[in-house]
């Protein structure tokens, strides 16, 4: 036991910097650098037996489509996003919980399943040949789905913005600005940085969304950069260099957006610093209530209910493709594999995120600098879509050294690396709110790092850690782009299996598999989130009570002596 303690102590004092530096170098820096320098060093591309010569230039159609659609989706998400934030942050009404649930549902719904649900609806004879069918299989359909998908994240940003426009500002404007429209205008101007932030985040998310581009985009013959990258990597002619060129576009777009967002965030924070009082929750007026329910029902229907219902109807009905109403062995195997891949990778992501964020809390200056650097690097990785990371991994891990391509280890590494930033983002605030004095005081009193983790940090953070795990688990369970590119032979995860059924037009089997997968995934996540904190905390409380009783007994004995 003492050996373990010494090891933990050693790792605690200097190990993390080296360990995490190595992890980041292997999982991000080396593969991405090797991939992104391909336009300059085309000889570094793997042998492309069917690649021929790389085509110069970029696909202007795909670039223009991506830019236009991303901007449209970015603009369209602002009004409903601001409204959702306003309703959840500033108004007291009975549907707030339902709106939150609907937004969570949209967030967790994989975009390719969202698309597939709507494809089933639009395939109805009275819609397919009409204006609805034409609109859906075009720009309008893609932008609409991107907007619905982006609403969940945008509303979180909007909530923060509405929170920052505090009660003081409301009171001041009520006193000094008599006209209601001018007060509204003032508030909107205050919300401009938030709207800008929402626009940027949504634009990046829309430009990187693979699920919609690979399904609706491909079927509507609307080339998009993210799908063009995938095509360059997985269809004839193979062109890694062109994929790298296109990837640069997405990276630059995302980095520019992140920079603008960071700047807007600073302005936002400065504005918030000046405001002292949090805004109160006011009951909804009649007009606002109508608007609120319309938004809630709209989000619920468009993002969750209609696609799920369509999938359920398709799953129960005759498919016309010779399917029986059961899930075949490959389907169950896909679910089993995805459960294990997602479980392990989510644990690794959350543990790594916790260790990186924990490093920031250390007393020593060097650890904090390294932790900040790692934090920055992993945040920058958000600019890297899954398709690009997959391409980078194919090149980096298919040589004599680190020959991991085609193995489960590489898929786990890719899953972990791609979702580490999400885990960090989710856990950033809970770690920041931990008072450093707690750990410091314990350390000064000679409490070892293991004990501090066990008795102080884990009990305080357990619920958040479990939630972070659940969120990463759900998104990994249905992960598509990385899985498509990196899955090992004979071990197709659920996403790959679903897309394969979609390609071969077995919509009924696909719908059944998707629904069963969703049910299992949500059951596992809900069980973990509900049980883990309760079991661990219950056990801790029992132990504390027992120790308390023993302590009392000891005190009584001492008194008797």
């Amino acid at each position: 036991m003492s050996g373990t303690r010494r090891l933990v102590g050693a790792v605690g004092s200097c190990g993390p910097s080296v360990l995490f530096g190595t992890v980041i170098a292997i999982s991000f820096l080396y593969p991405l650098t090797r991939f992104l320098v391909l336009p300059l060093m085309p000889d570094w591309a793997p042998l492309s037996g069917l690649g021929g010569a790389s085509r110069p230039g970029l696909s202007s159609g795909a670039l223009w489509n991506t830019l236009r659609l991303s901007v449209e989706a970015g603009l369209l998400v602002i009004p409903p996003g601001l409204l959702a934030g306003f309703l959840l942050e500033r108004r007291r009404w009975r549907g707030a919980g339902l709106l939150s649930a609907a937004l969570w549902g949209v967030f967790l719904m994989p975009s390719y399943l969202l698309t597939m649900g709507w494809q089933i609806v639009v395939a109805a004879p009275f819609l397919a040949d009409g204006a609805a069918g034409r609109l859906f299989y075009g720009e309008a359909g893609i932008v609409a789905l991107l907007t619905v998908k982006g609403l969940a994240f945008s509303s979180v940003t909007a909530r923060a913005g509405w929170h920052a426009v505090g009660a003081d500002m409301d009171a001041a404007s009520r006193v000094h600005v008599p006209a209601a429209w001018r007060r509204a205008w003032l508030t909107l101007r205050l919300l401009l940085p938030v709207a800008g932030s929402m626009f940027m985040v949504q634009m990046v998310a829309a430009s990187q969304d693979f699920g919609i581009a690979a399904t609706l985009g491909a079927q509507a013959h609307m080339p998009l950069v993210i799908y063009a990258i995938y095509q360059n990597l997985s269809t004839v002619p193979l062109d890694f260099t062109q994929a790298a060129r296109l990837s640069w576009v997405l990276v630059l777009l995302a980095l520019a957006a992140l920079a603008v967002q960071a700047r807007l965030g600073r302005r936002d924070a400065m504005a918030a610093d000046r405001l002292r009082h949090c805004p109160g929750m006011v009951p909804c007026g009649r007009g606002t209530a109508v608007l609120a329910w319309a938004l809630t029902v709209g989000v619920m229907l468009a993002g969750v209910a209609v696609p799920l219902l369509a999938l359920a109807v398709k799953a129960a009905g005759d498919t016309g493709a010779g399917d029986d109403l059961l899930i075949d062995g490959d389907g169950w195997r896909g679910i089993g594999l995805s459960l294990r891949y997602a479980f392990v990778s989510a644990v690794f992501s959350v543990v790594l995120a916790a260790l990186i964020l924990g490093g920031r809390m250390r007393a020593g200056g060097s650890g904090r600098v390294v932790a900040r650097m790692l934090l920055w690097l992993t945040s920058a990785n958000m600019a890297v879509p899954g398709v690009m990371l997959g391409a980078a991994y194919v090149i980096a891990f298919n040589g004599r050294v680190l020959s991991l391509y085609g193995t489960p280890a590489l898929l786990i590494l890719a899953y972990t690396a791609s979702h580490l930033p999400i885990a960090i983002r989710f856990l950033d605030a809970p770690f920041a709110h931990l008072h450093r004095g707690l750990g410091e005081a314990a350390r000064v009193h000679g409490v070892s790092l293991t004990r501090r983790v066990e008795r102080i940090y884990v009990p305080l953070l357990l619920r958040r850690l479990t939630w972070a795990w659940g969120m990463v688990f759900v998104t990994l369970f249905f992960e598509l782009p990385l899985s498509e590119i990196l899955y090992p032979a004979g071990s197709a995860p659920l996403g790959v299996r679903l897309l394969s059924l979609d390609d071969t037009l077995h919509y009924g089997a696909e719908a059944r598999l998707a629904l069963v997968g969703m049910g299992i995934c949500l059951a596992v996540t809900a069980a973990a989130i509900a049980l883990v904190p309760r079991v661990v905390a219950g056990s801790e409380m029992e132990r504390t009570q027992r120790r308390g009783r023993l302590g009392n007994a000891g005190a009584v004995e001492q008194e008797n002596v």
Binding site: Q219, P237, L238, V344, G399, I412, G538
Partner: protein, 332 residues
């Protein structure tokens, strides 16, 4: 032991058991990449008979060629089995295929003509790359390549995604002056409303939905639909383009695995296995054999058809260029 420690121990146990089952589970054995629909059933029969493990990775033809190219000289596969010898020639030019894998069998004249000189791949049978499948109620059904190229509302599969579509495109180009002269004929078809689907099944869906009047699709898919539904009729054009199914062995694998791969190829060509494949339900049984035994009871005699085989040595190396052009100009 505290609750946190118990939880950590349980978590560790779960992670380790998941990792063990994912990485150290069933040995994949012989790895076969295939775009041939019947491959999983054949591999299962091979495993049953030999008791040796084998794994099949099924994917569309275009994707298969791309994956094999991406893996290059560090292949994770032992055998590839797909349709279209142009792709096999391209892979062979990149030195990815082992030579001398062709067994001495009782090849038919057509079969012998399809075999490569260097023995880099074995032909396991053939179908036709493009036959005309039309709705019976269509006023004027195309009967020849000239008809179909001038007709409106025709559909075909995308050669970047669908393996059989490239030999079809190569044949159509060859009929119209080769490369790049044949581009004009394709542009004419686009002007007439050519619909390009990602795969043969998706083109059939477009036909059933009435979005196109005629589908130029692989003979297996067309014949299966026409036999199941009398509303559709198949016309075999003259010439009809041969689409050989080919199987090859990875060059960069240890010799023991190569021997195992060659044993699988011998299994595939055994008369009893071929007969069994011809009796399977579904479209996959509708192939013409390239060996004298067995004969195909369910298809017209190949000797009575006008067949053409675009030279894979010419069209194989052009695959990237032709498909790239198709993606850029026709799919736009």
């Amino acid at each position: 032991m505290t609750g946190v420690r118990v939880a950590a121990a349980v978590l560790l146990l779960l992670v380790v058991s998941c990792l063990a089952s994912l990485t150290g589970g069933r040995e994949p054995g012989l790895v076969i990449y295939s775009s041939v629909g019947v491959a999983p059933a054949v591999v299962a029969a091979y495993v049953r008979e030999t008791g040796r493990p084998a794994t099949v990775l099924a994917m569309p033809g275009g994707m298969l060629l791309a994956r094999v190219s991406a893996e290059a000289h560090h292949p994770r596969w032992d055998v590839v089995w797909f349709e279209g010898d142009d792709g096999a020639v391209a892979l062979d030019r990149a030195a990815l295929l082992a030579h001398g894998v062709v067994a001495d069998l009782d090849w038919t004249p057509t079969g012998r003509a399809l075999l490569p000189v260097d023995g880099s791949y074995e032909v396991t049978g053939f179908t036709l790359a493009g036959v005309f499948l039309s709705r019976r109620d269509r006023a004027r059904m195309p009967r020849s390549w000239d008809d179909v190229m001038a007709a409106a509302r025709v559909g075909m599969a995308n050669p970047a995604l669908s393996g059989p579509a490239y030999p079809l495109l190569a044949g159509m180009m060859a009929l119209n002056g080769g490369w790049p002269a044949g581009q004009t004929a394709l542009r004419r078809m686009v002007a007439g409303g050519l619909l390009v689907g990602p795969s043969n099944p998706s083109v059939l869906v477009a036909l059933r939905a009435g979005r196109i009047g005629t589908a130029i699709v692989q003979s297996t898919a067309a014949m299966a639909l026409a036999r199941a539904n009398s509303d559709y009729v198949v016309d075999i054009p003259a010439p009809a383009f041969i689409l050989p199914a080919v199987a090859a062995v990875a060059a960069d694998r240890p010799s023991a695995r190569r021997q195992e791969a060659e044993a699988f190829l011998r299994f595939l060509m055994r008369p009893d296995i071929q007969s069994w494949r011809m009796r399977l339900p579904g479209a996959e049984r509708l192939f013409w054999p390239v060996t004298a035994r067995p004969t195909q009871p369910d298809l017209p005699d190949a000797g009575g058809l006008v067949l053409s085989h675009p030279d894979p040595e010419v069209w194989g190396p052009l695959q990237a260029e032709v498909t790239g052009w198709f993606q850029q100009e026709i799919m736009r």
